[in-house]
């Protein structure tokens, strides 16, 4: 297992270096002078221009610039936002919990609905339920989620008046962010109604962000189950008189879940991409919205740092899934 772990980490390192290259190149590829972007529209004397270039290290050869950049990144210094003048990493990690909370809720929703739906669809293959689930899954998979969000707002906020339209919690509540996770913070604050308010703000974004992962998980679970249900050991389990539920739950499900775990891990990227849209619709103060806002404000250090951190998160989660996969499936582990 150690060797397997080390090989996988070794495979990830070049990707990480590539990501830093991409982030480094990005700011230099943007047409126009970065100094002019910095000072805005007021104009600048040539002396001050040269001074700023030297300050930012832009007068050095590219290779030296890259080395300096890597040195700073390793120390956790991702530069400062042009707009707020705060370190990019501070901004990112202040907003990160909001996105993580939303993504975890969406993933939980997708799994709680998707796994049973996929299992039942496989067991009752060809039934009405199977067709409905697969039809719904394909529709969910084809869904423009930004439109789905607007539809849910029309129905639940506009017509029924059940849920709020935007934000993480009602403005009536105020408490310090102890963990950054509003569900936990609102409970800790002890204020009456705070937790309920958080929940009601969370419901629609969770459904919207969870829709595509839900569709993918349901489809994958169904096909993995179908494959396993045809195996001899499941037939043996049934033939020796095990109750169907036990044969399915114990013998089939365990093996069917192996590919499903991978698919769930792959949803992290989907969740980040979806977060950009979901957070924009619901004015959710997370990194997806922050990134889009930074781009429209031309705050390139923030974009650069944000991209690097998001890609790193995705790489780490995928690595973790890969390792977990090796742990639950010895065949993968010993192939290497």
């Amino acid at each position: 297992m150690l060797r397997f772990t080390l090989t996988r980490i070794g495979l990830v390192l070049p990707t990480f270096v590539g990501i830093t290259l991409l982030a480094f190149a990005m700011v230099r590829l943007i047409p126009g002078d970065p100094i002019e972007l910095l000072v805005g529209e007021r104009g600048i004397t040539p002396e001050r221009h040269a001074e700023l270039r030297a300050d930012l290290g832009l007068d050095k050869p590219l290779l030296v610039q890259y080395a300096l950049y890597i040195g700073a990144v390793v120390k956790g210094d991702l530069g400062k936002s042009i707009v707020t003048k705060r370190p990019v990493s501070d901004e990112f990690f202040t907003l990160f919990p909001a996105t993580v909370e939303l993504s975890l809720c969406a993933l939980a929703f997708a799994m709680i609905v998707g796994l049973p739906a996929g299992i039942i669809a496989a067991v009752r293959r060809g039934s009405m339920f199977d067709h409905t689930v697969m039809g719904a899954a394909l529709t969910g998979y084809s869904m423009p989620i930004f439109w789905w969000g607007l539809l849910l707002i029309i129905l639940f906020s506009g017509i029924l008046g059940w849920t709020p339209v935007s934000g993480r919690i009602s403005l009536l509540f105020y408490f310090d962010a102890a963990t950054g996770f509003m569900l936990i913070d609102s409970l800790l604050s002890g204020q009456e109604g705070a937790f309920a308010s958080t929940l009601s703000h969370l419901v629609l974004p969770t459904i919207v962000l969870g829709t595509i992962p839900l569709a993918v998980i349901a489809r994958q679970t169904r096909s993995a189950m179908l494959e396993v249900l045809n195996e001899d050991y499941v037939r043996t389990a049934r033939a020796k008189g095990l109750a169907p539920l036990r044969a399915i739950g114990l013998h089939a499900l365990r093996n069917a879940l192996i590919p499903v775990v991978t698919v769930i891990g792959l949803q992290v990227g989907v969740l980040f991409a979806g977060a950009v849209l979901t957070e924009t619709i619901f004015a959710w103060p997370g990194i997806g919205k922050w990134l889009i806002d930074s781009i429209s404000r031309r705050d390139y250090p923030s974009v650069q740092g944000g991209i690097l951190l998001i890609a790193t998160t995705v790489i780490i989660v995928n690595l973790a899934v890969d390792l977990l996969y090796g742990l639950i499936n010895p065949r993968i582990r010993h192939k290497n």
Partner: protein, 307 residues
């Protein structure tokens, strides 16, 4: 005597061998048409294509024509609506139906250009990686890994941020995002083919690398690529609409479905029709293409055929 022998010889092959295999296209169609969803998807997609092509003649109004007396008019079946604007009008008095019909054109062109760009580049890079093993392969495949480590929409957003927001840059960005899957598919399929006898035979006869790659190997790798291209087509429509919605794709007043939704956002609680119809158009088109893609996969994948 001779006549009977001749008759027996002539009849021989017909009676003793199996019937000739059906033409590949015919065989494909017989598998494809079994799948009701796929045929439905094909039909809907054909209708969307027809609407896109004929929008200039069939749409009731021009897509950007403003009717100042009819701001946010509801669809015809609702109170206050009129048959002149069947799906209602938007906030500046433009006919929703006409805009959606013209929007079909943008979505299809986006899909077509993205698929053409990414498939061409993907096949080229994939074949290069398969034929020139070693350093070139490592560089190409690592570069694809890097692109894959960023969530697709985020990568597209970043590329658009570098190039500047407009429809063409959005299409370019989406093409880059889809590249890794196509490169991997092509490379894997080509490597599998390269070890086969017919390739060795072709090489022995003296075929050059380019001929070997494009004429000998590529046609045998096409099945998975066709499926991936169909699915990329639908994802491209979806992603281009998302970019338009974020203000990073087509710019107003272009009647692109995602851009229309972005403009409609502030009226979400006042005028349901300006939000509902463009999104429905996206959903129906993408769903049709995905059904079509699933059908193609089932019909083209010989492993599934035998089941």
């Amino acid at each position: 005597m001779n006549a009977t022998i001749n008759a027996a010889v002539n009849a021989g092959p017909e009676t003793s061998t199996a019937p000739a295999p059906p033409h590949p296209l015919r065989e494909f169609w017989s598998y494809f048409s079994e799948n009701v969803g796929a045929v439905a998807g094909l039909l809907v997609f054909a209708v969307v294509c027809l609407v896109a092509i004929s929008a200039d003649f069939t749409s009731p109004h021009l897509p950007n024509e403003q009717f100042r007396a009819h701001f946010l008019q509801p669809p015809m079946w609702q109170e206050g609506g009129s048959a002149n604007f069947p799906l209602g009008t938007d906030a500046v008095g433009r006919d929703m139906l006409s805009r959606i019909m013209h929007g079909a054109r943008f979505s299809l062109i986006i899909g077509l250009i993205v698929v053409t760009l990414s498939v061409t580049a993907g096949i080229a890079l994939g074949l290069v990686a398969a034929f020139f093993r070693g350093v070139i392969e490592i560089i190409v495949m690592r570069a694809m890994d890097i692109l894959l480590s960023l969530p697709s929409l985020l990568l597209a957003v970043v590329i658009v941020a570098i190039l500047g927001p407009d429809l063409f840059n959005a299409m370019l960005a989406i093409s880059v995002v889809y590249l890794p899957h196509l490169v991997r598919l092509t490379r894997a399929a080509a490597i599998a083919e390269l070890s086969k006898d017919y390739v060795t035979a072709s090489r022995l006869v003296g075929a050059g690398t380019l001929r070997l790659a494009v004429v000998t190997v590529l046609p045998n790798c096409l099945a998975p690529l066709i499926v991936q291209a169909t699915l990329s087509f639908s994802s491209a429509i979806l992603d281009a609409a998302a970019l338009g919605f974020l203000g990073m794709g087509a710019q107003p007043p272009t009647p692109e479905w995602g851009t229309m939704l972005a403009e409609a956002r502030e009226f979400v609680l006042r005028a349901w029709w300006v939000v509902t119809f463009p999104g429905l158009a996206i959903l129906v088109t993408v769903l049709a293409l995905n059904l079509l893609g699933d059908g193609l996969r089932d019909a083209l994948d010989p492993k599934l055929k035998r089941q």
